[in-house]
Symmetry: C2
Subunit: 384 residues, 2 copies
Amino acid sequence: MDSITMETLLLRHLSTKMAQDIMRTLIRVTFGTEASQLSALYFLAFSNGTHGLLSQFSSSLNGARELRIKGGAQQIALELSVKIGKECIILNTPVTEIEQSENGVRVSTRFGKIYRSKYIIVALPPTEVHRILFNPSLSLKHRQLLQRYPVGHLTKFIITYPKAFWREKGFSGEVLSYGGGKVERGCDAGPISATYDATTHHGHPAIVGYMASKSGVQWNSKDTSCRKQSVLETLSYFWGDWVHDPIDYVEKNWGEEAYVGGCPTHGMSPGMMVWFHQIRTPFGRIYWAGTETATRWCGYMDGAVQAGERAALEVLYKFQPQTLTAADLDVIDLQVRRSSFIHPPPDPHIFRWTLCLPLFLIAMGWAAYTLRRHFWVIGVGRIA
Amino acid sequence: MDSITMETLLLRHLSTKMAQDIMRTLIRVTFGTEASQLSALYFLAFSNGTHGLLSQFSSSLNGARELRIKGGAQQIALELSVKIGKECIILNTPVTEIEQSENGVRVSTRFGKIYRSKYIIVALPPTEVHRILFNPSLSLKHRQLLQRYPVGHLTKFIITYPKAFWREKGFSGEVLSYGGGKVERGCDAGPISATYDATTHHGHPAIVGYMASKSGVQWNSKDTSCRKQSVLETLSYFWGDWVHDPIDYVEKNWGEEAYVGGCPTHGMSPGMMVWFHQIRTPFGRIYWAGTETATRWCGYMDGAVQAGERAALEVLYKFQPQTLTAADLDVIDLQVRRSSFIHPPPDPHIFRWTLCLPLFLIAMGWAAYTLRRHFWVIGVGRIA
């Protein structure tokens, strides 16, 4: 199953073009990737981690898009930074190199600063891990995997309106489109892959949508006003002319961020699933977090939390195993408990005793010899 | 065709398992990659560039392995370094960042040294290009492509013998094996994918062979003596007991090289061929060489030469287009002749004349006014 693409699987098992197109669109929105680029087995494993296809794409109960965060997702980062203490967070300092030895880890940054620690948790997307120089090199399996686990592309847009007109007309605000709508030169298809109702908890009406995968990359070469025009025209096919009068139109293209490179998640190329566990297998003193290392809701925020907790427990297991509960130990892979890539330093006790004990005995002997006369006097009395 | 893997194509069009296994082995040896990891269309394009399958795998006339270089392939680099002048070659200086502006290119290295030039030719494997930080970022298409163009894995071994026993027995020295031979724990199959006769031009008899792709990675976790033992036992199945007495056994694992990462070439994952030309499309002042950018014998040394010449001509076209012949111009892509990602600086002449001309006129006016009386005397005579 890992040797075929998701496209092959769709063609083999879905008999109508409409069913195929729906799946292709859902894959585009979920991975920012074409079905033709994705390992079929990876998709199935991914869907298994989200309790099936329906919850993966759904914005209703237990669905991937069920919950939104008051004030936006950045609230999590902001609240965490208060808890951790801003002085403990170093921003704008990209890591270029991670070296490890028997004693610890040494992290070099782009601007020459160096940090040291006993252990390190790397919570980066796989493509960014691949860009760091590791010394010693990561295992061959891990490096082969990182090369075949690329990130997709997604441009997100949010259109705000004075009123939620779509609700008044009886629409949910959800649109799935396989390239329908207004096409520009250089683009194979219309811009929109999907939209959702994104009305805020304050009640400000908004529509959020995605320009995903190849089509998104093509539209990326157009200027914003052209994209906006085409997005609105496409939406007007579905909802009518009112869409042309938004309050605001905002876009975010994650592909432009130098240290992110894409959105929303990574999708495995075919042929690597046999070594997929490498993504979270500790390498000496290096432990792995980040949503791509999760086993449940991998690629989502839920997965990021799971992975972060697991990685923290793994490191805690090395420091203070006695603090871990049985439930904690279950979270940690058995492999982790056994793993020790960096051989433990030779036991210092042996050295200490082989050197100190003879020295101590010699010192005692010398002291006994020197104080012999004195002892004699005090302890036994001297025979004159 | 780009949406299916080579494995899917083999299963679809080859009816016997033996034919499939032969193709799988040939793909392993050529790309260091499994058929399941490779885009079928990429494989066909690759084979088109090598004039078909037969020449791709063959060591006879016009074949990929027809020619060898006296004294080894490093002779090319050594001879070139003499021609170029060793003082012009900077070694052990990995590039970390390439910035370009309207005036030129700025290359930063790992140890803080900085180099500047008008244009730059990058002749690196795609995975290593991906590890460099570009400012401005490479085009989205190019970055998406680099992520899906991974390098394979190959461990090469050379066994030297006192005599070419295999020739005496009537063997060519060529073996293709789909995982036959002695298997160790942790390895799915035997070590050898292929061997060839590698007798030197001095007549020193030798066999060269490959442990390729997944199987090669698995064998990589064993120690050398274990691998050697298993390689020799596997070869003895084919050739008899004499193989157990070699003069020497040497290995090279390119996966261990921090700035190479694999061997022998890159193989495209499915779904990206539509943007394959991005690999050689200049980006402002950055031009691309390296065998993966070649259109003929891509992935081979022949391709590296073609790509190098093309890139050199492209840069020459920017400097001194009048020196290029019609044949040279044909080598350069039309796209290159038109490309100008970095907009030309605003014409300095406009600025110069809008400022200088009025100033010049004012100065002339003032001079005329001042010298009015003098002119009058000399030129016309003064009316007293």
